[in-house]
């Protein structure tokens, strides 16, 4: 199982995502101008400020050459995980429904939050411990207020009282209809070592590994 982590100019959580993925499998960086996904089994679009987040967060990055390949990979059913800025990129690219708006507070928020696993049966949560499980994972963003005019497939919700940004229906993470593209504002790659207080983020990467493993063995 090999993860590919995309690096845009302005990405800043690419190395943490790489290290997190390496805890459950192999991982390598993918360059934003390289259309070749190097045969990876899953793609991670990491957090940061791709292309400076000019115009709107993720608006420029979605046109990067690598994103054409990521879109094709997603159409063929490949697993794509977008974290924070990566979530914004996937929404801008139309690979996920909805959009991310500035936090209601207009402030940068940076704290550990509790997340309810709204759907424990996705490729990204099947190793999370089941329905009712709560995950402790940090958020750090200024533009994380999720909005969608249409009903969406909610995977993670901020637990009661935890919503850090005014997100609609406490939505923290959503997936596409096919269930193979997932975006979330919290940072699972920052919650993979007991040293930093929680390893709950690892369950996202473990779920992806388990899912890809199942697919390969079938």
């Amino acid at each position: 199982m090999k993860f590919g982590v995309v690096r845009f100019p302005g990405s800043c959580d690419d190395v943490d995502a790489l290290l997190a993925a390496e805890r459950v499998g192999e991982a390598e960086l993918l360059w934003h101008q390289d259309r070749d996904l190097h045969g990876v089994d899953a793609v991670v679009i990491p957090g940061g400020f791709s292309y400076g987040d000019y115009l709107r967060c993720g608006a420029i990055a979605r046109f990067a050459p690598v994103m054409e390949s990521v879109a094709e990979f997603a159409r063929e059913g490949g697993l794509v995980l977008g974290i924070c800025n990566g979530f914004q990129v996937l929404c801008e690219a139309g690979l996920l429904p909805g959009a991310l708006l500035p936090n209601i507070s207009l402030r940068f928020v940076f704290r550990q939050v509790w997340l309810d696993v709204a759907d424990p049966d996705t490729a990204f949560t099947e190793s999370s411990g089941g329905r009712g499980r709560v995950l402790s994972i940090p958020v750090k963003h200024t533009t994380g207020r999720y909005y969608s005019p249409e009903p969406v497939h909610v995977v993670l919700r901020y637990a009661a009282g935890e919503n850090p940004n005014g997100s609609q229906d406490d939505i923290a993470g959503v997936c596409n209809e096919q269930g193979n593209v997932f975006g979330l504002m919290p940072h699972p790659e920052h919650a993979v070592d007991p040293l930093t207080g929680s390893t709950d983020g690892l369950t996202i990467f473990e779920s992806m590994r388990a899912h890809v493993g199942d697919t390969i063995s079938v």
Partner: protein, 84 residues
Amino acid sequence: MRARILVRPKAGILDPQGQAVQRALPALGFEGVGGVRIGRLIELDVEDPSQLPAMCERLLVNPLIEDYEIVPEHICAGDEAVQT
């Protein structure tokens, strides 16, 4: 031609920037202000203005959360005269 594109948060989208400004104005003694909404102004030189709507739909605007208005050149020019 010179074109001007006004980008606004869609009706119904909460605009905390607008709300903050609306709260700030009375504090400065400006009463009777409501409905403050803050958007974005994009100005550009364009050879083929018929491409402007496509530019807006594909990049300049996120139609899910924003509305846009393309202001024609002659109105832009009129604005400048008034601004002096």
